[in-house]
């Protein structure tokens, strides 16, 4: 297991992505799965950076675990910000025209569709969001 605790800022999305990619490369993760994980990081860590401590800044922890049979990577995002369950949000209507479209909810929807599992819990004052990607 590897863990990184860092200020939840938009600038640090790239640091978190590099940290996770390093673990994925050791597993010979296929490039497509890696890109899907990178997108999930952008959405989830980006959300924490934008909203968890707004208008202040606070820390977030990103934990990477590898599980076997089937081989998968489990990434946990932890912050102490305002309680927020992204999974409680209704899925967006993806059939609307450009003019009717709203962008809200699309990021978490993409994560739900590309990951093999996603779960959320609020425990001891922490938002704990976990994603699993089989590789």
């Amino acid at each position: 297991m590897k863990e990184l605790t860092i200020d939840a800022t938009v600038e640090n999305v790239v640091v978190v992505t590099a940290f996770v990619d390093e673990q994925l490369e050791q597993l010979d993760c296929p490039i497509k799965a890696q890109m899907q994980v990178d997108i999930a990081i952008d959405e989830l860590f980006g959300n924490i950076a934008h909203y968890a401590y707004h208008p202040k800044t606070g820390p977030a922890t990103v934990r990477v675990e590898v599980i076997e049979e089937p081989l998968a990577v489990v990434i946990t995002f932890i912050d102490n910000g305002v309680p927020y369950d992204p999974l409680a949000q209704a899925d967006p209507d993806v059939t609307l025209s450009a003019e009717e479209r709203e962008i809200g909810g699309l990021g978490i929807y993409m994560v739900k569709k590309s990951m093999d599992d996603i779960s959320y819990e609020y425990k001891d004052g922490q938002n704990i969001l976990k994603i699993r990607k089989n590789i």
Partner: protein
């Protein structure tokens, strides 16, 4: 991400490379803002683009809405990961994607 722009008359070609995400999407938004006035044909070349997140989709949607009013917009050279994102999010019905 790198953004390269080429203008010829009322046609604007924007070539992107790298990742269109939370960090870089504001740059594309700013670059498009500068040049969309008077543009009737917008071509976005994704040849070197690895992937995009919802922050990128937001910029594309906004550009598409603008171009719906004043001309057309085409996206070229979309890789498999990006094509799947467009499919899953229904953006494939909104955008014009050329091989």
């Amino acid at each position: 991400m790198t953004i390269e722009k080429q203008k010829s008359g009322n046609e604007l070609t924007v070539t992107l490379a790298g990742r269109l995400d939370t960090t870089t999407a504001p740059n594309l938004e700013a670059e498009l803002k500068k040049d969309l006035d008077g543009t009737e044909h917008l071509i976005l070349d994704f040849e070197g683009l690895e992937y995009l997140s919802s922050a990128g989709l937001r910029v594309l949607l906004s550009a598409q809405k603008t171009m719906n009013k004043q001309g057309d917009m085409v996206i070229r050279h979309v890789n498999e990961t990006i094509a799947e994102i467009f499919e899953v999010t229904g953006f494939s019905d909104i955008l014009t994607i050329e091989a």
